[in-house]
């Protein structure tokens, strides 16, 4: 992956809407064949950034390069990109096959070859035999597939997806996530996905850029992003993170020792300590890195006493809110509901096992 060539490059991209600074110096590169996600809350500029790739938004400073070429003077219809719109933008006056074949007008192939290409594209997205249907008669999931087929039939270098799954129900969304990953592997085209759903980004992407207020806060693969978020904000946005106040005791040779309230003294390695940005020092712990010890269970990890304050039953999981070590520090931890593991009651005294390596220090 790392030696793959760069497909999209942002060089210090700025965009203003009047006085509003929508993109504040975006620099990043997206590799060829990558499934890349732009993740962030609404209004963070992720859709604007996607639209600068498509050519629907101009930029005020910097450059967007596509396959090594500056796109400054290239209009949207001449760019080697295609887009799946949030609303799918299916032409309501055309049939499914006319929609899918919309971009083939200038294609030099014969009518029969084009029809074959349309049929093939429809089959690829699982809509074989739907060609003659009127576009308005399709369900949300089918519209999405038509939008995909319509874009992919043109064999773009980059496929842009603007929150394509947000209009679908949960089941459908999860199914489409898997299908999109498979499709991307099958066609080998660079996919750039915009989403506000962190789970979706983690499931689908090779790499994710987390954006806040027009800037990229962190760009990493899903695991790094989840395990080693580089700021409290990113940690808070992605998944659930327990923040525990702490004091930095010493720093020497990369090793940092902190005293976390309720957990005690912990030594942290450099990769657990992203550069600080002046916040109050806190350590972060994901709920699944904490484990409840049932009577008779032992662990090689460190343990701390806890008091169960709240029990939230989720079917496959149970979440416990637990006070640590007799302090007012409350953490949430999750336990899988495997057979033979009873659900504890509020007020139970428990031992909580945790591992120092799961900690991340924010300061």
């Amino acid at each position: 992956m790392s030696d793959a060539k760069t497909m999209i490059e942002f060089r210090d991209v700025h965009k203003y809407y009047g006085d509003y600074h929508a993109l504040r110096g975006i620099s990043a590169s997206i590799r060829a064949g990558e499934f890349f996600s732009l993740l962030g809350p609404s209004g963070c500029g992720k859709t604007t950034l996607l639209r600068t790739i498509a050519g629907f938004e101009g930029i005020d400073k910097g450059a967007v390069l596509l396959d090594g070429k500056d796109m400054a003077d290239v209009p949207a219809n001449k760019r080697p990109t295609n887009m799946v719109f949030q609303s799918y933008a299916i032409f309501p006056h055309l049939s499914v096959e006319e929609n899918v074949g919309f971009g083939l007008r200038r294609d030099p192939r014969s009518k029969t070859e084009k029809a074959a290409a349309v049929a093939e594209a429809l089959e690829m997205v699982g809509l074989k035999g739907f060609g003659k249907r009127a576009a308005h008669a399709l369900s949300g999931g089918q519209r999405q597939r038509v939008a995909l087929a319509r874009a992919l039939i043109l064999k773009p270098k980059v496929l842009l997806l603007d929150e394509p799954l947000s209009a679908l129900d949960k089941k459908m969304r999860e199914q489409m996530q898997v299908e999109l990953i498979k499709l991307q592997r099958q066609v080998g085209i660079t996919f750039v996905l915009v989403t506000h759903d962190q789970e979706e980004a983690l499931v689908m992407s090779d790499r994710i850029a987390v954006m806040f207020e027009g800037e990229i806060a962190q760009l990493a693969d899903p695991e790094t992003l989840y395990r080693r978020p580089n700021s409290k904000k990113v940690a808070d946005f992605i998944g659930t993170m327990n923040f525990i106040p702490c004091q930095v005791l010493s720093e020497s040779g990369g090793q940092i020792e902190v005293d976390a309230k309720g957990l005690g003294r912990v030594a942290l390695s450099p990769d657990q300590c992203p550069p600080g940005n002046g916040d109050t020092a806190m350590v972060g712990l994901r709920p699944e890195t904490l484990t409840l010890l049932y009577p008779g269970q032992t662990t090689a990890e460190r343990t701390v006493e806890g008091l169960v304050d709240e029990v939230i039953y989720f079917g496959d999981m149970t979440y416990y809110d637990v006070y640590l070590g007799g302090t007012d520090v409350e953490v949430r931890l999750s336990m899988r509901n495997v057979p033979g593991r009873p659900i504890l009651e509020v007020g139970s005294k428990v031992d909580v096992a945790w591992s120092p390596s799961a900690l991340v220090l924010f300061r």
Binding site: A54, G55, F56, P75, A76, N77, K78, T81, N82, M83, F85, Q86, S87, A89, F91, P92, H93, L94, S95, F102, G103, R105, R106, A134, A135, H136, R150, A151, L154
Partner: protein, 293 residues
């Protein structure tokens, strides 16, 4: 029929009837009754101003074979189609501009400005065009004073062209509004999708915007075509009585010649023509609306 026995339903039907009856009565008295009278008159015989109960199709034969009537009907059709064409061609770009290029917050102001011509009476507007296009009108005297022409142009007044200009100006707002509404309804991401799929802005207009705004265009066509074909004031004032249209012919037969039977036959024939053309457009509209809803 079991449902009809349901007292609740019957009561509902009664109260429904009670609610529509004033309107129904109004429509019967002022629309259906005169229409029926005209239909009846058109198959009766009229002699020396008196209509007698002798049924005949003679009036229709005269209307459909007499060269004068045919010429006038053709002129009516030509003027109405010309006005419709000119109006829609002028209205579309205006509607497009307001819908696509005017800031959303200023759109209602623009629409308001478009209706300004309605603030003056139609008669005044017609006379204004007379002043502009007339023998000694603004255009002629203007051109003469700068020396481009030596004597007034005859062909700009008292002709079908002048009729079309006057009527098109009068009906433009009626055409702008439905086209504007249909353009407003178009999802803007469809236009981006057109470009995204490789089409230029112009091509996207032809392939996406125009077809999707067709229902508005056809509504505009009907709104302009139907009243203009029966227009009575404009040919009288602009045409100076030399360019009668079908409605002027009816007036002559009904009031001046006092041949109510023949006048009625002309009226029914005109209705028939308008009806056929209108149904044609409605069918066209259905074709465009068909795949959408």
């Amino acid at each position: 029929m079991a449902r009809m026995q349901d007292p609740g339903l019957r009561r509902e039907a009664r109260s429904g009837l009670a609610m529509v009856s004033p309107t129904l009565l109004y429509a019967v008295l002022l629309l259906a009754a005169p229409l029926a009278t005209v239909l009846l008159y058109s198959v009766l015989t009229s002699a020396r101003g008196q209509v007698s109960w002798d049924f005949t199709l003679g009036n229709y034969i005269e209307v459909w074979t007499g060269p004068v009537y045919r010429a006038i009907m053709l002129r009516s059709l030509t003027v109405a189609l010309g006005v419709t064409l000119v109006t829609v061609l002028i209205a579309y770009p205006i509607a497009y501009f307001v819908s696509m290029h005017v800031e959303p917050s200023k759109k209602s102001l623009w629409l308001f400005l478009i209706t300004i011509p309605f603030w003056t009476s139609y008669l005044i507007r017609v006379f204004l065009w007379k002043v502009i296009l007339g023998y000694n009108g603004v255009i002629n005297s203007g051109l003469m004073s700068v020396g481009i022409i030596d004597e007034p142009l005859q062909w700009i007044n008292y002709n079908v062209g002048a009729l079309i200009v006057t009527l098109a100006h009068a009906y433009a707002p009626f055409a702008i509004l439905p086209i504007f509404v249909s353009l407003e309804k178009i999802d803007r991401s469809l236009l981006e999708a057109g470009q995204d799929l490789g089409e230029s802005k112009l091509r996207t207009f032809w392939r996406v915007t125009l077809p999707l705004s067709m229902p508005g265009v056809i509504a505009a066509v009907l709104i302009v075509f139907i009243p203009t074909i029966g227009d009575y004031v404009t040919p009288d004032l602009i045409g100076g009585g030399k360019l009668p249209m079908i409605a002027n012919m009816m007036e002559v037969q009904m009031l001046k010649v006092n041949n109510k039977a023949l006048g009625s036959a002309i009226a029914v024939s005109a209705m028939l023509i308008v009806g056929i053309v209108a149904v044609g457009f409605v069918l066209l509209n259905r074709r465009f609306l068909g795949p959408q809803k």
